[in-house]
Amino acid sequence: MIRKQDFKRIGEYLWEIPQTFREDMRVPARIYADDALLEAALGERSVEQLVNTATLPGIVEYALAMPDIHQGYGFPIGGVAATRLPHGIISPGGVGYDINCGVRVMGTHITHEEITPHIGELATALYYNCPSGVGEKGSIKVTEAEFDDLCVKGARWALGRGYARPQDLPRTEESGCLAGAHPDKVSKRARERGRPQVGTLGAGNHFIEVDKVTAVYDQDAARAMGLFEGQVTVQIHCGSRGFGHQICTDYVDEFQSAIKKYDIKLPDRELVCAPFDSPEGQSYFAAMACAANYAFANRQVLLYHIRRSFEQVLAGKVSDWDVFQVYDIAHNMAKVETHEIDGERMQVCVHRKGATRAFGPGFEGLPPEYRAIGQPVLVPGSMGTASYVLVGTAGSMEQTFGSTCHGAGRVMSRAQAKRQVRGDKLRGELEHQGIAVRAGSLPGLAEEAPSAYKDVDRVVEVVQRAGIARQVARLEPIAVIKG
């Protein structure tokens, strides 16, 4: 059991477990948190999972956790680990089953007042046009041959099929296309699971949400993103569906042998890994990139359905019903990046599991309009609570390999949430708050109750005060669509 006394306080919002805490640690473990968030993390096994992450071969500087840390499997959720290339490891469990699970935020030219009379109809249109639910299939047909193209091109595939606008792509992490994807590294089973699900939301904690901007903290950054107070915005939270799940399953199984081959000792088998430059590591990275591109394409097709829904419901009722992309960002991914470590520019493989890339101003991969403000970071809250748009900072580049939090972070188990919250009652409460709810499963809704999550305001406050992101705008929900 790890206790608060085991930590050294490094800063007001930064805590460290020294490398000496456990013999197998290769680096110290660090958590960004205030007292209350740290206490919440100590109530479960997430900190132990972070210490386990600190044992990975090739890990540099620190095993890091964001303030939304909570218990996952293998890595904690909210975990960041960078390994030195070329020989440091890559771990499928460090990315997770939902490869490139992420968030896309869109803006509109519609105000909250304008949309209020139509919000129920819009929520219904979104629910029917954006397929959701367990194992749901999409309305988009993708042939076997075309599927390879999708895996390699990601959002660019969607552009070719007419589901994207050219200006959507630069406003997507990696322009919606992660390099290095090789469909021949993906199993037949993964293809079978993924091909029918393009353009679907799925179930669990995935959602589409219509929001209103209730506060702007940084006018310049908000202006660059086209955001203003009182505006209606839309969020998508989903990933690579059964395709990513199968790829992770395949490689976690295959890597059980790889750890023996490379004589890697691990405290948890879900952390299985292989040297990045090994045949196994390269194969996983190529397959993971296919899933990352699938997820970019998936969220792009969902944006197409959202645009259709806005047109269906609002054409002729508001002056401009257009939906434009603000940014799309992954929060389950392994990326090859160059960071400054001990004064040396070093190429590393950054695993972010339930953590968001948050590159600061000047990053060349950003579209010109965002280069001065830093990369947009999208932090969804729990259902019914606020979400935030942030930007990456120079501080995130210096401290966290350009990473920050990804959400509120759970505090209550799903089983406990189901015992404490009734789905129909929760829906009634949300509707009473003026939030239109369209959900396929009421028990599923109960598991995602706001009381099951940490306070997103507190999480965002910590990352801002720690200097690893800066607040731009606050969003509050007016419609929630879930599987």
Binding site: G242, R414, S441
Partner: protein, 137 residues
């Protein structure tokens, strides 16, 4: 041992977990599958219409359990088969041959994306076996 005592839900913050027991390893496997599908559906109400042979191999008993359960999940997602009855025909710690029965068109309460290896260890205790499985949901 009653079916209720064969598996129980364990608290896990983000995902789902069950603790499974069995007098023998094959029984542990059957109870794990029964426990997993009990989380997502009322399997006592399923009338099986599909029978399938599922055979897998892996490096050890833990990896075999994960692979076998993931194999079942694959058929659930691609074929809509919700499994309710499991029989082990041949078993070694690195190989299982089984006959499983499923119904189609069953409403799922929840989706299990995958079975994980997280802290997975099959422990021999008191003349039987025990394991805790964490599912990604």
């Amino acid at each position: 041992m009653s079916r209720q005592a064969n598996f129980s839900e364990v608290e896990h913050t983000a995902d789902w977990a069950i603790r499974v027991r069995g007098a023998t390893l094959p029984e542990l496997f059957v109870n794990a599958a029964t426990g997993m599908y009990s989380l997502v559906a009322d399997i006592s109400a399923i009338t099986p219409t599909v029978e399938r042979e599922v055979e897998v191999e892996s490096v050890d008993a833990e990896a075999l359990l994960v692979k076998w359960l993931n194999e079942l999940l694959y058929h659930t997602e691609t074929g809509g088969e919700v499994f309710c009855a499991f029989r082990v025909e041949a078993f070694e710690p690195t190989h299982i041959q089984s006959i499983v029965k499923a119904g189609r068109g069953v409403e799922l309460k929840k989706q299990i994306k995958a079975v994980t290896f997280h802290n997975l260890q099959i422990i021999s205790s008191g003349g039987g076996y025990q394991a805790t499985l964490v599912f990604d949901v």
